[in-house]
């Protein structure tokens, strides 16, 4: 009896939702995990998209909990519930391909966002090229130290695609300054606390030798800053760079302690959502997000491009207050 009730109730719910689907476009967003600030900004930006606010699109965000299998199961759920399109930020380049296959089998278009996936079945992808940011941050450091002296590199978890690409960019910039010596080059796993410990130890083993710190993300650059402060050294004698533009880093840039490069989570999210609606409506759609007007270097091109590269924006004394105002 109880089972029958549940069956009836869920059948009614299904009917109700499919009736609603006729009016609204159902889009699922599958980010790899929602524990860190970047993905929270990303998810919040989706909710603030004009099409979601107007009720044209019904958006559901699935927390992937940093687990490829969890993401795959979520794709199966979305396929059963007949979503019209999916926005996907996979935890892993290769493991994500199976999830995309699931959606393709069900005839659901998938738009990649932020992280890459090895699949030809992706309708399109909106993200930022990490080799470019890796090059940009290293170049900033090298320019400031005058293309000579010593640097240390704080790397992300070895083998993650962002670490690989950012290191490639770092190395490209370093190759242009053959006189610069890399004193140390280790992973701090994107973590502020781990980077702080590493930097404390490096300041000991290379006293008065480190000129530049290349942090592959802001968290690690901030850890290095804390280590330098704790050692009683003058931050002015170090050039420190990070990537991502997280809020703490924006404050540090404002204080003149480091440089950072903004990875625009909002643009990656809203751009992907415009493309998802475009695919769901089979081309009968004009993009609504203001990001297309902001980034002239990333034209909409009738939604036909395979890859949309969101440009990186260096955080400067001029734009930092404006960026901070967007973070509540």
């Amino acid at each position: 009896m109880k089972r029958l009730m549940i069956a009836l109730a869920s059948a009614t719910a299904l009917l109700a939702s499919s009736a609603m689907a006729q009016e609204k476009i159902k889009i699922g967003a599958a980010p790899y995990g929602l524990n860190a600030e970047f993905m929270q900004i990303w998810a919040a930006a989706l909710q603030e998209h004009p099409a979601v606010k107007s009720g044209e699109v019904e958006l559901t965000v699935f927390d992937g909990r940093y687990d490829a299998l969890v993401q795959q199961d979520q794709f199966k759920t979305m396929a059963t519930q007949k979503y019209n399109a999916i926005i996907f930020a996979p935890i892993d380049v290769d493991a994500g391909a199976a999830a995309v296959q699931t959606a393709a089998d069900a005839g659901i278009p998938v738009i990649g966002s932020n992280t890459r996936v090895n699949s030809d079945l992706l309708t399109s992808y909106v993200g930022s090229d990490d080799t470019i940011s890796g090059y940009m941050e290293a170049k900033t450091v090298l320019d400031k130290i005058g293309c000579k002296g010593n640097v240390v590199i704080l790397e992300g978890p070895i083998g993650q695609s962002a670490q690989i690409s950012r290191l490639e960019g770092n190395k490209k910039a370093l190759a242009e300054c053959p006189d610069v010596k890399i004193l140390e080059d280790q992973t701090a796993n994107w973590s502020r606390a781990e980077a702080q410990t590493l930097m404390e130890n490096w300041l000991t083993s290379h006293p008065n030798q480190i000129n530049g710190v290349i942090g592959q993300n802001d968290e690690m650059a901030l850890g290095a800053i804390e280590a330098i402060k704790a050692a009683g050294l003058d931050l002015k004698s170090f050039t420190i760079a990070g990537i991502d533009g997280i809020t703490d880093a924006l404050h540090a840039v404002k204080a003149g302690e480091m440089t950072s490069i903004l990875q625009d989570a909002r643009a990656q999210a809203q751009g992907a959502l415009d493309l998802a609606i475009f695919a769901a409506k089979k081309g009968d759609y004009k993009p609504q997000s203001d990001i297309w007007a902001t980034y002239k270097d990333m034209p909409w091109k009738d939604g036909k491009e395979k890859i949309y590269n969101v440009p990186w924006t260096p955080v400067t004394a001029e734009n930092v207050d404006q960026l901070l105002a967007t973070r509540k």
Partner: protein
């Protein structure tokens, strides 16, 4: 267990005149092996790296050991009663972020009216830790749920509460007064090191000089005998989790004060380093045997090893392999001590 050890020392006594009889030498190595290992490690690092034995680096090692040291001391209490506390890493994050929200000067990340005085922030952080420990303690002692399960539940729940409380965002801009507990100095000694020393001294005193300390050993060594001799096992078990939780709260505040920002991802897998320090320090996972001094040395060995390998520019992967070998080696030594060669 005890009688076996006593027998051996009597046997060894026969060779008392030849000071280093083989049996006695073996006992000596087993009893003080961990201390010996520590001395050898320090000696090797001092010779191989010119910076290792400098005042600045010694201060660094102690600083880097302080947080794990505090956690490991709490863990020692729990493991001595045959328990385990897997939740400390998550409690570090929860206590860190809740206390931080009281002492941040950020207009948006804190609770209304922040920043409050440091004492309030510290009190709140300790309370959060104690509350988590008390919940685990009640579940283990009253409801007889295995400690592994109860604290595994708390590991997940406390992490979830951390993300809910802070909305998944970090709490930055902690007041300089609060940050002092992580970055300040007392007579040239880093504040976290002084805090570790105080925690160690009090814990040593409790375990070696008080009736409650004897109860802890008794409950872990032989629960049945403890019960028949009138020891309140439920209360003893409850209190050790409260101690572990409270110290995890303290460690959480040390961490946020040190990094300058309370992060929701803080403390992930810290329980493993704490357990490692306890085990390397010779405390038996089967309860009743172990010393908090050993734990302190265990934590120092981990800290010295990480620092030394960093100084020599060796990849952190090797540090993990070495730590693994140390843990297993220490337990092998422990097995030999308890059950004979």
């Amino acid at each position: 267990m005890m009688s076996a050890g006593d027998n051996k020392s009597t046997e060894g006594g026969k060779n008392a005149n030849s000071w280093l009889g083989s049996e006695q030498r073996r006992l000596l190595i087993q009893e003080y092996g961990i201390f010996l290992a520590f001395v050898i490690l320090v000696a090797v690092l001092s010779v191989s790296n010119e910076f290792f034995l400098t005042a600045g680096n010694i201060s660094n090692v102690l600083l880097q050991t302080s947080i794990n040291g505090v956690l490991a001391i709490g863990m020692t209490f729990v493991i001595l009663t045959r328990g385990i506390d897997l939740s400390v890493g998550s409690v570090v994050a929860l206590a860190g972020i809740v206390s931080a929200s009281f002492v941040t000067s950020s207009a948006t990340a804190g609770i209304s009216g922040a920043p409050y005085p440091v004492a309030l922030g510290l009190g709140i952080g300790l309370l959060v830790g104690i509350a988590c420990g008390a919940i685990s303690g009640v579940i283990v002692s009253r409801f007889s749920v295995p400690a592994f399960v109860a604290t595994l539940g708390m590991l997940s729940a406390a992490r979830g509460m951390t993300l809910i409380y802070g909305g998944g965002r970090p709490v930055p801009a902690l007041t300089p007064a609060f940050r002092w507990i992580g970055t300040g100095n007392i007579l040239g000694i880093p504040a976290p090191v002084v805090i570790l020393a105080v925690v160690f001294a009090i814990s040593w005193w409790i375990l070696n000089r008080t009736r409650f300390g004897r109860y802890i050993y008794a409950v872990g060594g032989n629960p049945h005998a403890a019960r028949t001799s009138g020891i309140n096992i439920t209360r003893t078990q409850f209190v050790v989790y409260v101690i572990s939780g409270g110290l995890a709260g303290l460690a959480g505040m040390l961490l946020s004060a040190r990094t300058g920002s309370a992060l929701p991802q803080a403390g992930i897998a810290y329980e493993l380093d704490a357990i490692a320090a306890v085990v390397i320090g010779g405390t038996s996972l089967s309860g009743g045997v172990g010393r908090v001094t050993g734990t302190l040395i265990g934590a120092l060995i981990i800290g010295v090893m990480n620092n030394g390998l960093d100084l020599m520019g060796i990849q952190s992967y090797y540090q993990q392999v070495l730590k693994g070998a140390l843990i297993v080696g220490a337990v092998m030594l422990d097995q030999k001590r308890n059950y004979g060669a």
